[in-house]
């Protein structure tokens, strides 16, 4: 019983355990539901999975199912980000516990009952609990935003290397706070529209209505919602990895204010999609600030990796090759910055090019081709964020030595190969006519499927390692639990503790 309780404490009361559970659940959902589309459908695996699990697949409900699936995975990702934020941003212990508890119930209810409702039959209980889960997520987010309030004296910066105002307000905390508030505001755009379902609003996928000349305000609201939510998740992970790598100094002092400004402008831009035609101009303008802030982080990160690596090797005057060698030494820390840079080639630049040439090129192609670009664009950004989380988690989970290098490089190389292949596939009309596209389609699909499959294999191995560890009496889980102090004094961490987590 004690052994079970200790493991429960690790999995549900420690940050590392909570993240592990969320990643494991996402991996499980990906493993099962990934079988329903793409190459798995072509190989006939889809039908077998449907039969084995007794799924109730109605053709007319595909759009609704996909929306449920997006939300379940998104809530788990948000939960991971919240766990990390409550762990790394100073706050009181009981605040961290409250937020994590609400978020955990929220995403689990959303995930479990969302998938049950979508794929195993409809009833009011499943749907009600799914919505209750989403509501808890919102409530948890509200608590997070309140907790992150940056103007309390106790959270003022003490180290002047970090971005701050004249009065000492921590601008990184302000950036986290702004992101949290913007996320709550953006969530309401989806929630309000959802409340009109069956009463003026019908289920749709944004990519299906993109060419409609006259969209309803509810449709525009959803389009704004889905764009800004993914952007805010990306902003959150950028802030998180910045904190992880102790982003500070001159670049930090520039990056944080522009990240705050960028977050506000992008959010208003996305919200204004409902009322003005030129909302995208605001979004582009805000994106420049956010992308610059991310660029400053990458410059800091790579310079820091080179500097510390050379110091470790005792090299005073390094050649260029030595600097590059040092930069590549730790794929996990290098990888988060690299994935952000790489994102520009497969997401940002593609999006900008598409926007600039929309009527000249992309709207000349059939809607189905434009649809492939749009969905490829969002999926690539989402998957890039996922790889950054994975690289960060692998470090958190204590992956070291050869395994660390193999895992890190596998995630970077195979995911990037897949992203390049997806980008070329979606843009294929630029290079090849429909009549001659077969070899290009074959190769890009093969590389994309193979690349993503190998990333999933790397993830599966990481999960198996951590699962096996749970069966050890004194495994890594035990050490990680010790760091929290929960196991020693399970009832002691105290709702009322006023200790500030550093």
């Amino acid at each position: 019983m004690g052994a079970l309780k200790a493991r429960y404490n690790f999995l549900f009361r420690s940050t590392k355990g909570l993240i592990l559970v969320a990643i494991a659940l996402i991996a499980l959902v990906t493993a099962i539901w990934g079988m329903l589309s793409g190459p798995m459908a072509e190989f006939g695996i889809r039908d077998i999975v449907i039969r084995i699990f007794g799924m109730d697949i109605v053709e007319a409900e595909r759009e609704g199912r996909i929306i449920l699936l997006y939300h379940t995975i998104a809530m788990a990702i948000l939960a991971i980000e919240v766990y990390i934020i409550t762990d790394m941003v100073p706050m009181k212990k009981h605040q961290q516990t409250n937020i994590n508890a609400i978020i955990t119930f929220g995403y689990m209810l959303t995930l479990i009952f969302g998938m049950l409702f979508g794929y195993f039959g409809h009833n009011f209980i499943f749907h009600g609990l799914y919505l209750f889960g989403l509501s808890l997520m919102f409530f948890g987010g509200l608590q997070l935003a309140i907790t992150l309030w940056p103007w309390k004296k106790e959270y003022h910066v003490t180290d002047l290397e970090y971005s701050h105002t004249k009065s000492g307000v921590d601008l990184e905390r302000v950036a986290f706070f702004t992101m949290a508030v913007a996320t709550l505001g953006s969530a309401t755009f989806g929630a309000i529209t959802g409340s009109y379902w069956g009463n003026g609003h019908e289920t749709f996928l944004a990519e299906d209505i993109i060419r409609e000349p006259n969209k309803t305000i509810l449709q525009k609201s959803i389009i704004g919602h889905l764009h800004i939510m993914l952007t805010l998740i990306a902003i959150a992970i950028t802030l998180i990895v910045g904190r992880w790598q102790d982003f500070k100094g001159r670049l930090h002092k520039i990056a944080m204010p522009i990240m705050i400004v960028g977050t506000i402008i992008i959010s208003f831009g996305a919200w204004s999609v409902t009322v003005v035609e030129w909302a995208h101009v605001t979004i582009y303008f805000g994106s420049v600030f956010v992308l610059l802030a991310a660029l400053f982080f990458v410059i800091f990160s790579w310079k820091m990796l080179i500097r510390t690596g050379l110091e470790k090797r005792g090299i005073q005057k390094a050649r260029f090759s030595q600097k590059i060698g040092t930069l590549f030494e730790d794929p996990l820390k290098f990888g988060v910055g690299w994935q952000m840079v790489f994102m520009n080639f497969t997401v940002s630049f593609v999006g900008i090019f598409m926007a600039a040439k929309l009527d000249e090129i992309f709207r000349v192609w059939p809607h189905r081709d434009e649809r492939i670009i749009l969905t490829g664009h969002w999926h690539t950004l989402a998957a890039l964020i996922a790889t950054i989380i994975l690289l960060y988690y692998a470090d958190l989970a204590g992956l070291k030595g050869r395994a660390r290098k193999i895992f890190g490089w596998s995630v970077i190389i195979f995911s990037d190969l897949a992203f390049v292949a997806i980008t070329i596939f979606s843009m294929k009309r630029l290079f090849v006519s429909e009549s001659a596209q077969q070899p290009l389609v074959n190769w890009t699909m093969l590389i994309a499927d193979l690349g993503l499959a190998l990333v999933l294999v790397a993830l599966a191995l990481l999960m198996i390692w951590r699962l096996a560890d749970l069966f050890k009496k004194k495994g890594r889980w035990s050490e990680e639990l010790d760091e929290t102090g929960y196991d020693k004094k399970p009832d002691d961490e105290a709702e009322n503790s006023e200790e500030v987590q550093a």
Binding site: E59, P213, W443
Partner: protein
């Protein structure tokens, strides 16, 4: 270093594979499904459920619609007549014809379709299944009864007009495909690989050509067995064939504030969900593709 070599080999292999390939190296097998491309069916006036959300929609007149898509042989015959009487003409590597233009409202993303000669079919694209000897058209061997593809909306509309028919509107098309119940596919609620020609449906032509495969003869999915391949009989409630898969079909609507023309039915290049009766595709009226064809509609009294 090993990783670098691996990436380089991979990149070179990939780039080498991007070279254009010939579409039809060998003629396809000549198969006769026995469904006459000249036959029409009557769709009676009445209410039906339109779209994903099953909106009750009324069509208050009878109409007749082609049982199958227009074939290469039919289009070649038409072109020969239309060339002879000057309805269409050869300009460079294109067949073009006059279109009176659309009303233009300068709406966001709307492109003006002016009166003038517009592309009907390209003559220099390897996807075209017709041969042209500078005087007359003939369908390529084996493709006579396959759907006519590589035809723009202008070319499809001109074909129907030539015979005093017209393209079906989206409403007329969907009623003909779905009948009066809420089925997602013309034949019923579910799709099997032998119901229609779609991506990875492993039909007889996909097995021969591979990948995205090729078109199947019109009316192919009628329950016949071809060289050991048995197709399920998959008509719509009104007896139309190929209302899902094989090729997208142009519809006739010209909507306000946009220049796009809409296509229905999904094609050989799409996953199964694109074959659901309410799925729409769109492109400019001058777009052509190896996966886009059409069928015509006429008044119920018209012969």
């Amino acid at each position: 270093m090993k990783q670098l070599i691996f990436i380089l080999i991979f990149s070179f292999t990939f780039l080498a594979s991007c070279a254009p390939s010939q579409v039809n190296l060998t003629p396809p097998p000549q198969l006769d499904p026995g469904v006459g491309p000249d036959s029409w069916v009557l769709v009676t006036a009445g209410e039906f459920l339109m779209g994903l959300h099953e909106h009750e929609t009324i069509v208050d007149y009878n109409y007749e619609i082609m049982v199958t898509d227009v074939t290469n042989a039919q289009y070649a015959d038409y072109l020969n007549q239309a060339l002879a009487d000057g309805t269409v003409k050869v300009v460079g590597d294109q067949i073009v014809g006059y279109y009176p233009g659309d009303e233009f409202h300068d709406h966001e993303h709307e492109i003006e379709i002016k009166a003038g000669d517009w592309l009907h079919i390209p003559l220099d694209d390897p996807g075209l299944r017709l041969d042209f000897d500078s005087e007359s058209f003939t369908p390529q061997t084996g493709y006579e009864n396959h759907p006519m593809t590589m035809v723009t909306w202008f070319g499809a509309q001109a074909f129907c007009e030539f015979y005093d028919w017209r393209l079906p509107t989206e409403v007329e098309w969907e009623k003909a495909a779905r009948g009066e119940d809420a089925r997602p596919y013309p034949w019923g609620d579910e799709i099997e690989t032998t119901n229609a020609n779609y991506y990875s449906s492993y039909d007889i032509f996909e097995k021969i050509i591979g990948g995205l495969g090729d078109t199947t003869p019109v009316g192919f999915y009628n329950g016949q067995t071809y060289d050991g391949y048995t197709a399920l009989d998959s008509p719509s409630p009104y007896g139309l064939y190929d209302m899902a898969g094989n090729v997208w079909q142009w519809t006739g609507d010209v909507y306000e504030n946009q220049h796009y023309r809409y296509m229905r039915g999904g094609s050989k290049d799409n996953y199964a969900y694109n074959l659901r009766v309410w799925t729409r595709n769109s492109a400019g009226p001058d777009y052509f593709s190896p996966a886009v064809g059409f069928r015509c509609l006429r008044d119920s009294s018209g012969q």
